[in-house]
């Protein structure tokens, strides 16, 4: 028998009522983004092209559903909520484009059509709407600061929080030995807990990273699966100013930071990679392919409160940076990689418990426009 990290998701109804705004009326990706970020109760997914598959055809447009258990009396409630979301977006982002007044007017005057449609509750758009629902229902503090490319949603748990779940969830309470992070953190506590005086704790933290996304699959019928993949990652905070302060507090010469590679990050500009050419207590020089830029450290510090703040962050991909980190900040900063050396047998044993933790975060069932989607168990397949 084959076991996969796909978890069957079972709706309690065959059909679901979804709203759609046709593509011609407004740019679907932008509208979906606004609804997902600024509406109170709605989630949306954009289809920029007609979707045509063996079992269904969906027209292009913005598909909208309600993720809270609210009963809307008619489509005008939806219209009103979208309008409010757009107003919030305009007030907050102040976009230069002048289409918004007209768009709000068109929503008010019903020039923009909102169709209600009964779709299969395993339709192609449903996993997309469920993904956006997850983003709304998972507490913000549990979401990873950075997702890996290609990941939809990722939950990051430090060892303390993970331990809390193991204590509170009865089905996994006695299975701590299946979670390798606990043993790891006994060996490398500085990489797991806050203890400000050492480099590992100040700059790194090893976390359990649970990436998840809903996905439709079609056998004889359409089905929805939740794909859950867990691994261990290292959260880094390698802000150069913080490192300079640390070096000073330890009496280490700033000279040691020479040749280290840093990312130059500024709002509205592409991230640039450069090398520290020279550094002293007052200033540093950044070497690019074509030129050298001098930066005053006082300016850099004062600039941190500004809207267009400049961030210089050590990029640990490069050899010189890694050598610097290992020598002066944290010798074991790459040790978490050992945690990911698990074969499938060990992986699935831990993943079973991860699913219990996930259930306690997102609930046994996810609600979407009148339908409850139950999170079942791992998919097993015969060969």
């Amino acid at each position: 028998m084959y076991i996969t990290n796909l978890i069957r998701v079972v709706p309690n109804s065959e059909d679901i009522m979804i709203y759609r705004i046709p593509k011609s009326d407004v740019n679907p990706p932008l509208l979906a983004k606004i609804i997902n970020e600024y509406s109170n109760n709605l989630v949306a997914s954009a289809l920029t092209f007609e979707y045509k598959e063996e079992l269904e055809t969906l027209e292009a447009g913005t598909y909208i559903a309600c993720f809270r258990e609210i009963k809307y009396s008619d489509v005008n409630n939806i219209r009103e909520e979208i309008k409010e979301a757009i107003i919030k977006y305009v007030n907050e982002r102040k976009p230069e484009n002048n289409i918004w007044d007209a768009l709000i007017n068109n929503l008010e005057s019903s020039k923009i059509k909102i169709e209600s449609k009964e779709l299969s509750s395993t339709s192609y758009v449903i996993p997309r709407l469920l993904n956006n629902t997850l983003r709304r229902i998972i507490p913000k503090e549990l979401l990873c600061k950075k997702e890996k490319p290609g990941e939809e949603i990722a939950i990051c748990l430090n060892v303390t929080r993970l331990s809390e779940y193991y204590q509170t969830i009865s089905s996994i309470r006695n299975e701590k030995e299946k979670e390798p992070l606990f043993l790891f953190c006994e060996s490398y506590p500085k990489l797991c807990y806050d203890a400000q005086e050492n480099g590992c704790s100040q700059f790194f933290k090893v976390l359990k990273h649970m990436a998840l996304r809903f996905q439709q699959a079609i056998d004889d019928d359409m089905r929805i699966y939740l794909i859950l993949h867990s691994y261990y990652s290292r959260e880094s905070n390698l802000d150069l100013l913080k490192i300079i302060d640390y070096m000073n507090s330890k009496g280490l010469p700033l000279e040691f930071i020479k040749k280290v590679r840093v990312n130059y990050i500024k709002k509205g500009e592409y991230t640039k990679l450069c090398e520290i050419e020279s550094i002293d207590k007052n200033s540093l020089e950044l070497k690019y392919d074509t030129h050298i830029e001098k930066i005053d450290l006082n300016y850099l510090r004062n600039n941190q409160q500004s809207q267009e703040k400049l961030i210089l962050r050590i990029n640990p991909t490069y050899r010189t940076s890694r050598e610097f980190i290992e020598k002066y900040l944290c010798k074991d900063f790459d040790k978490h990689k050992e945690l990911n050396d698990r074969n499938p047998e060990k992986y699935f044993k831990t993943l079973k418990n991860d699913l219990e933790i996930l259930r306690s975060i997102i609930g046994e069932k996810i609600y979407l426009s009148g339908v409850y989607f139950s999170i079942d168990n791992f998919l097993k397949l015969e060969s």
Binding site: M1, Y2, I3, A211, H229, N343
Partner: protein
Amino acid sequence: MRFFERFNIVDFKFNFKDGISTDAYGIVKLGPLSKTPLYKNATVGVDQYKLLLILYNKEESKIEERIKQFIKDLKEGLENKKIFPGFNQVLGTNVNIEALPFKKYDPDIIFDTFNQYGSSSVALPIIILPKVAKSQYDSIYYRTKAVFLAKDIPTQIVTRDLLEDSNKYKWSLLPLTVQIFVKMGGIPYALARRFISTESLTNTAINILSFGLSYHPLQEKRGVGFITVFDHNGVWNFMDSVALSMDKIDNITENIAKLIERSIEMILQRTNVKNQILIIHYSGKEISSKEENTIRNAMTTAKYINKFIAVNVLKIKDSDIIVGFEDSPHKDKKSGKNTWYPPTGIVFRLKRDVYSIVTTGYFESLGGDLMSNIRRGLPTSKIIARHKEMEIQGQSKPFLEDRDLLASVFAMCRLNYASMNNPLSKDPVTIRYSREIAWLTLRLEEHGTDLNKLTKIKNVMWFI
């Protein structure tokens, strides 16, 4: 999701000069398939080479001693001739092997050292460099390779660390020899039969064109599009590339279309077979949906595309689907416990046109021995999505079934000249070298090299 197919390594045997074997090591007994490219108009070949010239930094400690041993091993082979019998002995060549020191790790100095020796057309440089991460764009590895490529010279890099690690070193000599042979223009081995199971297409040639698009790692506005072409036995044909302005959609569409048109012309020029099928493999790693639309437009509007009787398009990407096999016969060597590793080559169907194929796991050898191409960690799989909206079918019934198209990916995972110890790579050769090709092409373009004038490197797999 359900089981669809299982491809077995033993069904994808290799053809050598004097016979067929499942194992790439068969080259030692059976000899390399061809010393010249199998496609016409290619002006390269192994026999034009008279010398392997090892270039090393004389400032490195104990290096002279190690180079002396390296030359001896290449010339005479190891004591255990089964592991490595010697360069000329494996390949049936007659090249001399010599060494020259350079003063420091500077690409121009290394090139000058090579150039002083004499005609570059008869010598292939083997350059000893320190080990660097392949993710470093500015590393000595890419910089040195680029300087030589700009002069139309492929190189073989050997790391200093490899020369110092006696165990790794001895097992690397044969793959190294094969890589050098490939860079000289030889074909060490290919698939013994076409990867398709369909019998009816006997008079039809199938070409696999891989397409990649990459950003410059440091400058977001610059990018490169590149193609490599193999035939239905996995025999190398040629490569080509084009520089792109990534902030201009029209520029991307126009240049990719030109690149594809050039490639189609080249494919058609190099063969006499009338009926041609094209399978496009492309990797979706760096491609956004906007760029994907651009590629789609370029592929479907490229001139001459209708010269093929069918064009199939497969997008290949890493999968986050993990497959464990509870009944796996594979056991952990240390603990003796079952690992749950799945068999390599097992394919699951996710939905119409979308499949997941396991590329690392266990497999059975021809003799029935249980082996694996993974030691630790999780098995890897690829998602393969057939993009029918980009395809061309000349008749109502498709020429190639999904099974054949999936086999094209598995077959290309078998062809792994750089690491012959591994019978199946986790990535097919069609997408495996994307970064090397992209970064080196970008470097050449940065230095003002006209890529179209480099005729030799278009015809050899210089990037492996």
